[in-house]
């Protein structure tokens, strides 16, 4: 098993290294073949592991692969923990990654047009891109397969790094550079909390290994620590909230969400792979993985619940006023991440992770579909210049329609089960904040349907608003682009029906996810439904479906029947529109207040303490002194043998007098 896991992890790394360092030698085709094949191998083996775990041929694996170092009795190790939760993540990661690899071959085909003619940065950019996405696959696999906090943190940073590199892939565009810097800095805030959380875990639970930490935490549920003065805090609460702050950065929860919309500056395949399907869900996975800790703290879970609910509703609302096709999907991703976090907040970890999985498929599909549209539109992304694309791009249209139906939760589509599971679980929950969250997720259903169909209608229906040149060149994307769309559409429709009963309402995850008896809302839901079709039938008599239908009808009326109406509405409700347009002024807050204070502080330290005190007095002063001493000492090295011998004798005498006669 260990060797198998190593192959799964290391194959993409090998691909990344070959494509990255030898990209010039192996050429473009060589680069996409070697990375795609390595990821395909990982994907196949991941399926093999998952099926083995399901059939019972394999037992969950928890072991150390390499002992990196030991410091002060703490083991720093590389190890794998592979149970059903991990295996599911591995399959999702490698499958979506493989689809994205194939898709990229088409998307990046005429990549060189994106660089200035004489730009050195554009040399082998195609190979570099494949190297990055394979490297990302490696890092993400290390993240989900880790069995300890150290490796988790390293992989956490590694995916962040690759995300940074890819957002700024077109490094000659100032907006891309701004976006990747923003993503990196905002994630630093989250990672600071994450690192503190790991510190708390290590300090109070005495280990970095998951299973040891969970055992210690379960044995001492009421352990407390004091922060600031005398107030005692439950360790699980502090650790849980700090770790979740890390997740807020990575999974883009309010108020650390600001980087995700800007990350759309990166190439579209990246938006699908990293900023929709996998990396941004790392926070969700992490909280589910840490469920034994979170279950100890109702406070931490309530915190999570409220943050998630805010994100789910209010980010969806912003999506209503976006005109860039990718940004609409990005805000939709934020909103859906909010749903997952809400599920975690009510202890319905399985539902959260399940939504993660279905979302990975249909959101990757939507992003890749959007990318396909962008290819056809010659890399224009403004929906106001699109329209009527349905007849030119039937495959893209129908697959995106499937993705949209899954997203809004149309009965029997995968998204229906996962989202309905979350809503039902929230309804059952008694946790503080659950009522607020319930209202948010219900309203969110309406908003989701509205912005999703707004996108679909603006892009594919109505009159074409593009210029003539673009219109003449409109055509369906090549097979490398459409095949991944079709392959992703299949699970987007079907996977819910097949898996919902065991995974959400059953005990499929086993020991991987721990839910204490009192919090088990999913068991309460499961008691009412005995089959997937039962859930579907229930859908027709419950509120969410009608809310979604209302959203659809509203979008239809506004963007197909009366396309002039949105503008009037905009003028009528100028204040609300401005609030959404400005995204609640979060960007301004971050840029002017936090970044502003940081820059002012930096300037102070630079001018006063650094230049004046450290450089002037300490560094240069010390350097000058040492320089003078050195010049003096250099003269001692005269070159005369008898001087050398003399120094030796002096040394001997000093040692003799000091240690032998002095010691008496």
């Amino acid at each position: 098993m260990e060797n198998l896991l190593l192959i799964i992890v290391l194959a993409p790394l090998a691909g990344a290294i070959i494509a990255g360092f030898f990209g010039g030698t192996i050429g473009r085709a060589g680069a996409h073949w070697v990375t795609s094949l390595s990821v395909a191998l990982s994907c196949l083996l991941s399926f093999h592991v998952l099926l083995g775990l399901i059939s019972g041929d394999r037992q969950p694996f928890d072991g150390t692969v390499y002992n990196w170092m030991v410091a002060g009795g703490i083991q720093f190790q590389v190890g794998f923990l592979v149970d059903r939760l991990t295996a599911m993540m591995m399959v999702v990661v490698t499958f979506v990654s493989l689809m994205v690899h194939i898709y990229t071959i088409g998307y990046m085909a005429d990549e060189e047009h994106n660089w200035p003619k004489d730009s050195l940065a554009g040399v082998n950019a195609y190979q570099r891109f494949f190297s990055y996405i394979a490297l990302f696959t490696f890092a993400m696999l290390m993240l989900v397969m880790s069995n300890n906090f150290l490796q988790l943190f390293f992989a956490w940073e590694a995916v962040g790094l690759v995300s940074y590199l890819l957002i700024g892939f077109w490094m000659n565009r100032p907006t891309a550079v701004f976006a990747n810097l923003k993503a990196f800095l905002v994630n630093r805030v989250g990672d600071f909390g994450f690192l503190l959380g790991i510190g708390v875990v290590l300090l109070f639970y005495g280990s970095l290994n998951y299973s040891e930490v969970f055992a210690t935490a379960a044995a001492n549920p009421d352990l407390t620590m004091s922060i600031f003065g005398g107030a005692e805090w439950q360790v699980a609460t502090v650790a849980g909230i700090l770790l979740f702050i890390g997740a807020m950065g990575k999974s883009a929860q309010v108020p650390l969400h600001v980087w995700l919309p800007d990350s759309m500056e990166g190439p579209t395949p990246i938006s699908a792979l990293i900023h929709a399907a996998t990396m941004v869900t790392a926070g969700i996975f992490m909280v589910a993985r840490m469920s034994p800790i979170y279950e100890l703290s109702a406070v931490a879970l309530s915190f999570i619940l409220v943050i998630g609910a805010i994100t789910a509703l209010f980010m969806g609302l912003v999506g209503l006023v976006q005109n860039d096709i990718k940004r609409v999907v990005a805000y939709s991703t934020l909103s859906q991440l909010g749903y997952m976090v809400v599920a975690l907040g009510v202890s319905a970890y399985a539902a959260g992770v399940y939504h993660l999985m279905t979302h990975a498929f249909f959101k990757a599909l939507l992003f890749l579909g959007a990318g396909s549209v962008i290819i056809a539109m010659h890399h224009k992304q403004d929906m106001r210049e699109m329209g009527g694309l349905k007849k030119y791009m039937p495959v893209t249209y129908w697959t995106m329609l499937i993705g949209t139906l899954a997203l809004i939760g149309f009965p029997a589509f995968s998204g229906y089960f996962s989202k309905d599971g979350i809503i039902l679980a929230v309804a059952e929950s008694q946790r503080a904040g659950a009522t607020f969250a319930y209202l948010c997720v219900l309203a969110g259903v309406f908003v989701t349907a509205l912005y999703s169909f707004r996108l679909l209608f603006l892009v594919f229906h109505g009159e074409g608003r593009m210029d003539r040149h673009t219109r003449e060149h409109l055509h369906e994307s090549p097979l490398v682009v459409t095949i991944p769309l079709i392959l992703l559409a299949i699970p987007s429709v079907l996977i819910g029906l097949v898996t919902v009963m065991p995974m959400v309402l059953g005990d499929w995850f086993g020991d991987a996810i721990f839910v204490s008896q009192a919090n088990d809302v999913l068991a309460a839901v499961a008691a009412k439904y005995d089959s997937a079709w039962g859930l579907v039938a229930h859908g027709f008599v419950s509120l969410p479906l009608y809310l979604a239908a209302a959203g659809f009808l509203t979008a239809w009326y506004l963007y197909v029947i009366r396309p002039d109406l949105p503008d009037q509405l905009r003028q009528r409700f100028a204040l609300a529109y401005t609030i959404l347009e400005k995204k609640y002024w979060f960007d301004e807050l971050h840029l002017n207040v936090f970044a502003g204070i940081g820059r002012a502080l930096g300037r102070f330290f630079w001018k006063v303490t650094d230049v004046g005190l450290i450089d002037g007095l300490l560094v240069n002063g010390t350097a000058r002194t040492i320089g003078r001493v050195a010049a003096g000492l250099r003269r001692v090295q005269t070159g005369f043998l008898f001087h050398y011998a003399f120094v030796m004798i002096i040394g001997l005498l000093v040692m003799l007098t000091w240690f032998v006669f002095g010691a008496r």
Binding site: N67, W68, Q637, Y644, V647, M648, I650, M655
Partner: protein, 482 residues
């Protein structure tokens, strides 16, 4: 001992030394009858000998703990580890030096023969179980090295260096021998094991013991090149042909670690309290002087000579605690430092060509334009020597500092860290020249043969790999003391 019946020694235990001795003779004879002007047979035979020595050492001595030749020879894991290090370093040294020696017309059969005997001396030293065999090993090593320094007979600078090395070395050897005679006088035995036992008990004659200890410490410190017994180092490093400098800077440092451990670290462990402060004194002086003077050096070989003191200070600091962990830290430090420095000299040798030594720091200017690979190798080596986290140099420093802090010498650790920071200046300066400056004139040109370049690149990249995965080597070093 005189009345004991002659016991046939177990020759098998000393197989690595026997193999080396036999092959050194073979090399001598083969080279005599070979017409190859490049001394190809001698070169290949030497390398085969060293590689064979590694295999034999691993298979016959690792994990063993036995003595032979009436206790004068010890076969154990520590000896095996140090020997493997010495053999590998010698292998690298010979691999890097062929082109250089040929270009200067000093590629002779003696070079290989003397080199092998020096290696043999080092191996005997680290496996000694008796004062006599220890001294024998040290002298064999030293005499071969004196001759090697002077192998370029026509160079006045080399001859001068050899002369200084020889005279001062003789002085140090005399002191070492004098100290040993004191020990013999007090205990009446030459066997290190028995001396250790005696040292634990002899309270009334402690004074004589200490007297001998100081003299021996001087002798050992000379081999390390620890301040104030260091004056020979810069002149010899600078004057000797670069390949010989490489040998003195790397393999002989590892042998010196073995010398210290056998003679003082383990042999006189009961006197830890007494020698601990001597070692601290040597370490402090080495750290201070080495770093300071290295700052103003403009010759790479001299700069490495002075910076050696800094590293010697670190190696000595590992001894201070007198614990297996501290010793393991020192061995780890010495081995990794030697590999890093071997590669550094390798780069100097690679860039040297006829009439151009490439040993001035500005000779590296613009290396990145000419050879990105070797510029990268220099980068790795220099940040490792600086001790930046993530490199093997960092782990070495960290292990040493940990042992020193545990022994209660926090101030020493602070001093050493400050020294390491100062060291960053002259190491990173080389990196700057490689990457950010344009070449002057012809500039650096990698000229070595393909095999040379491959070995050097592997050497450099191994330093990188060891920095990412230090666990295995750390475990091996610890295992040598348990």
């Amino acid at each position: 001992m005189t009345n004991e019946a002659f016991e046939t020694p177990n020759l098998l235990l000393a197989l690595p030394e026997i193999w080396l001795l036999a092959m050194a003779c073979v090399v001598l004879v083969v080279d005599l009858f070979s017409n190859d002007r490049d001394h190809g047979p001698a070169f290949w035979l030497t390398q085969v000998t060293l590689l064979g020595g590694i295999i034999i050492t691993v298979s016959t001595q690792w994990g063993v703990d036995a003595t032979t030749f009436s206790g004068t020879y010890v076969a154990d894991s520590l000896g095996a580890l140090l020997k493997i290090g010495i053999l590998v370093l010698a292998f690298l040294g010979f691999a890097y030096s062929r082109d250089y020696m040929r270009d200067r017309g000093i590629l002779k059969g003696e070079y290989y023969m003397l080199g092998l005997f020096a290696v043999l001396g080092m191996m005997v030293t680290v496996s000694a179980g008796n004062l006599l065999s220890l001294y024998l090993g040290v002298e064999l090593m030293s005499l071969s090295l004196y001759a090697l320094v002077a192998i370029d007979r026509d160079s006045s600078r080399a001859s001068e260096a050899a002369m200084k090395y020889f005279v001062l070395g003789a002085l140090a050897s005399g002191m070492l021998l004098y100290g040993m005679s004191m020990l013999y006088g007090v205990t009446g035995t030459l066997d290190l094991g028995e001396i250790t036992a005696a040292a634990a008990e002899l309270d009334d004659r402690r004074f004589l013991f200490l007297f001998g200890l100081v003299f021996m410490m001087v002798g050992v410190a000379f081999k390390f090149g620890a301040v104030p017994f260091h004056m020979w180092v810069p002149d010899v490093y600078h004057g000797a042909p670069t390949p010989v400098t490489l040998m003195i800077a790397t393999a002989s440092k590892v042998a010196a670690v073995g010398l210290f451990l056998r003679l003082i670290g383990e042999g006189l462990l009961p006197l830890l309290e007494s020698w601990q402060h001597m070692v601290v004194l040597l370490a402090v002086l080495s750290l201070l002087i080495g770093n300071t003077v290295a700052l103003v050096q403009t010759n790479i070989k001299r700069m490495l000579a002075y910076s050696t003191f800094n590293h010697v200070g670190f190696i000595l600091m590992g001894f201070v605690a007198g614990t297996p962990e501290g010793y393991a830290a020192s061995v780890f430090y010495a081995l990794t430092y030697a590999f890093t420095v071997a590669a550094t000299f390798g780069v100097v040798l690679l860039l040297a060509r006829k009439g151009f030594e490439a040993d001035h720091i500005t000779d590296l200017k613009g290396l990145n334009d000419r050879s990105p690979l070797f510029a990268f190798v220099v980068l790795i080596l220099m940040i490792s020597l600086t001790g930046i986290p993530g490199t093997v140099g960092f782990y070495a420093k960290w292990m040493v500092l940990k042992s020193v802090v545990e022994a209660g010498f926090v101030w020493l650790a602070v001093l050493a860290v400050i020294g390491a920071v100062v060291g960053a200046f002259y190491y990173l300066r080389l990196v700057r020249y490689c990457y950010f400056d344009k070449a002057e004139g012809e500039g650096p040109q990698p000229t070595g043969s393909g095999g040379f370049q491959a070995v050097l690149a592997a050497n450099g990249l191994l330093v990188l790999v060891a920095g990412i995965f230090p666990g295995t080597l750390v475990a091996v070093c610890l295992a040598a003391f348990l």
